[in-house]
């Protein structure tokens, strides 16, 4: 069980997130923070899957993409109100994750990793090929603004509160869960499935439960993402997104629940800052040089924080407490 410390820090964080739009009216900052929340939600679920349950599935960006497509298609075709598309997407993704996860999770180790990577590629191709529904390679355009009742989400600030609301709700849910019998069962899977099953834990059931739960969270983040950028295309949800999310987990450290959120924040802001800097120094080939410097920055972070920033922070706090 993880000791329940840091409730005050969490309240301070919520207050800071709530106050940010009051402190700055810079739409660029608000927009980047929306992406931090959306990608953070995605990384949060994948962090639980990889680092807490020990299920090395790479299909996570697929659930994000499916959530985006379901919500986008429902909204464009007027099948249901736009907000209902988010829920429809979550339910459908949960069902698809169940149907795929039940056979997939019988595999372990590299076999599971390879099979889940195949799922990622298959869905990316499917998004591109079913052009009559998904818009094909050109993508799904003209996604209407999100409306909930009479509230129309027009501005960045609306999506800021929506995306951070979702992110913090997912975080709180997972935090409570990981501090309960279900969370302990999930954690135990990572260390020893044999010992878990001998403690009465149905290993297959808990692996599938974690897989579906984190897929649904990714779907919700994907739906908000599609309404925010009002556009979606297959390549967004492929290998590049997988690498980004994995990098967020590695930078932030997956052992702490908040690690992937820290990773999302650092990675997105670092990339933006480097891009801004490089554009001034090297106006041509900015993105290529960006990638090199970004890679170097990630390596430097990992040299000094091999367990991710959250792991190093926790180690520092423990050391400080012992010396105090």
């Amino acid at each position: 069980m993880r000791p329940r410390k840091g409730n005050l820090s969490f309240l301070v964080l919520i207050a800071a997130i709530a106050m940010l739009p009051v402190l700055t009216s810079n739409s660029y900052v608000i927009s980047i923070m929306c992406f931090v929340a959306i990608y953070g939600t995605l990384a949060l679920g994948m962090g639980v899957l990889l680092e807490h349950a020990g299920i090395f599935s790479l299909a996570h960006p697929t659930w994000f993409g499916l959530g985006a497509y379901f919500a986008g298609i429902v909204a464009i075709r007027g099948i249901a109100p736009a907000w209902a598309g988010i829920l429809i997407g979550a339910v459908c993704v949960g069902l698809i994750a169940y149907l795929i996860g039940a056979p997939l999770l019988r595999l372990k180790g590299y076999y599971l990793t390879c099979a889940s990577f195949a799922v990622l590629l298959i869905f990316e191709i499917t998004f591109a090929q079913f052009s009559s529904i998904t818009g094909g390679h050109e993508g799904l355009m003209g996604i209407p603004r999100l409306t909930i009742g009479t509230i129309v989400f027009r501005k960045d600030i609306h999506y800021y509160y929506l995306s951070w609301g979702l992110c913090l709700a997912c975080f709180c849910f997972l935090y409570n869960l990981m501090n309960s019998r279900i969370g302990r069962a999930i954690e135990s899977l990572h260390d020893s499935e044999v010992a878990s099953s001998c403690m009465g834990i149905n290993v297959a059931r808990f692996r599938l439960l974690t897989f579906i739960l984190t897929a649904v969270m990714a779907s919700l983040a994907g739906s908000v993402f599609c309404f925010y950028i009002r556009f979606t295309m297959p390549t967004i949800y492929g290998f590049a997104l997988l690498l980004e999310v994995l990098t967020m987990i590695v930078i932030g450290g997956g052992k702490k629940l908040y690690g992937p959120l820290v990773g999302a924040f650092i990675m997105i802001w670092l990339r933006e800052l480097l891009h801004g800097l490089m554009r001034r120094i090297l106006p041509v080939m900015t993105s290529e040089v960006d990638a090199i410097f970004f890679g170097i920055a990630v390596i430097v972070i990992l040299i000094f924080a091999p367990h991710g920033l959250s792991g190093s922070l926790a180690a520092f706090v423990n050391k400080y407490r012992r010396s105090a």
């Binding site: 069980m1 993880r2 409570n176 019998r181 260390d191």
Partner: protein, 262 residues
């Protein structure tokens, strides 16, 4: 029902003609014995005798290739480990198999998993029922840690504990399942003398609480101190069974395992 004779009583555990192969190697060959309720029975034998394999067969980690295992008259052989555990069979592991990402208390609380009922939503939303259950589980886990003398180390990471204390955490974890039968796989292995003495006390306390113990161990003074009956295995076969005084003098056991100097 089982055909194994257990002094005319319904056995707690009945092993009937159980066999287990790994490739061409017979780890266990047609093993028969039974346990009655209460007391400590030890399973001894040289390395490779099939002791741990038998524990794995009883707890559902392995399905036997032949024979059956009955627990209180119900056939449990071939059933998944989590179902066997829910019937009231707890165990510890030779190599620990601890949950290193959890604290000592967390490990003990995982053992209480079958005592809880709260599902995903009550746990995720921390509803009152889940909260109450969590408090009860914490109390039970702390009580089990108190029994093995480790409640003061509850919030430490299990990886910070020495081997002897980790093994005691393994017992506290298994007690969370409220087992009727507890299988201990080499609990004294690698322990210092004072730690073994503590283990003897813990085992006697558990027996007094009505838990039946099947002990796999190489530390013979410890085995002799806690066992009412000893079963000796050699290369997958039972070569002797009886009280400690009888086993100590059995020439087959002396030749196969104990040695002349014992």
């Amino acid at each position: 029902m089982t055909s194994v004779n257990c002094n005319g009583q319904e056995p707690l555990l009945a092993i009937e003609n159980v066999g287990k192969n790994f490739g061409g190697i017979n780890a266990i060959m047609s093993l028969n014995f039974c346990l009655q309720v209460g007391g400590t029975v030890s399973l001894i034998g040289p390395n490779g005798a099939g002791k741990t394999t038998l524990i794995n067969v009883v707890t559902g980690v392995y399905a036997p290739d032949r024979g059956t295992v009955h627990f209180f008259g119900e056939q449990i052989s071939g059933k998944p480990a989590h179902i066997v555990a829910s019937k009231g069979i707890g165990r510890t592991f030779q190599l620990g198999e601890f949950f290193d990402s959890l604290t000592v208390l967390g490990n003990a609380m995982v053992g209480c998993h079958t005592q809880g009922r709260s599902g995903l939503i009550p746990c995720g939303l921390r509803l009152r029922s889940a909260k109450r259950e969590e408090e009860n589980v914490r109390e039970t886990a702390l009580e089990n840690l108190r029994l093995v003398g480790l409640e003061k180390r509850a919030i430490e990471s299990i990886s910070q504990l020495p081997l002897g204390e980790r093994k005691l955490v393994g017992i506290a974890r298994a007690l969370g399942m409220k087992p009727r039968l507890l299988l201990l796989d080499e609990p004294a292995g690698g322990l210092a003398h004072h730690e073994v003495e503590k283990l003897v006390y813990v085992i006697r306390t558990l027996v007094n609480r009505g838990i039946t113990i099947l002990l796999v161990e190489h530390n013979m003074p410890f085995v002799m101190a806690v066992s009412e009956r000893i079963i000796v295995l050699d290369r997958g076969l039972k070569i002797a069974e009886g009280p400690p005084t009888e086993i100590r003098c059995n020439p087959d056991v002396v030749r196969a395992y104990l040695g002349e100097e014992y």
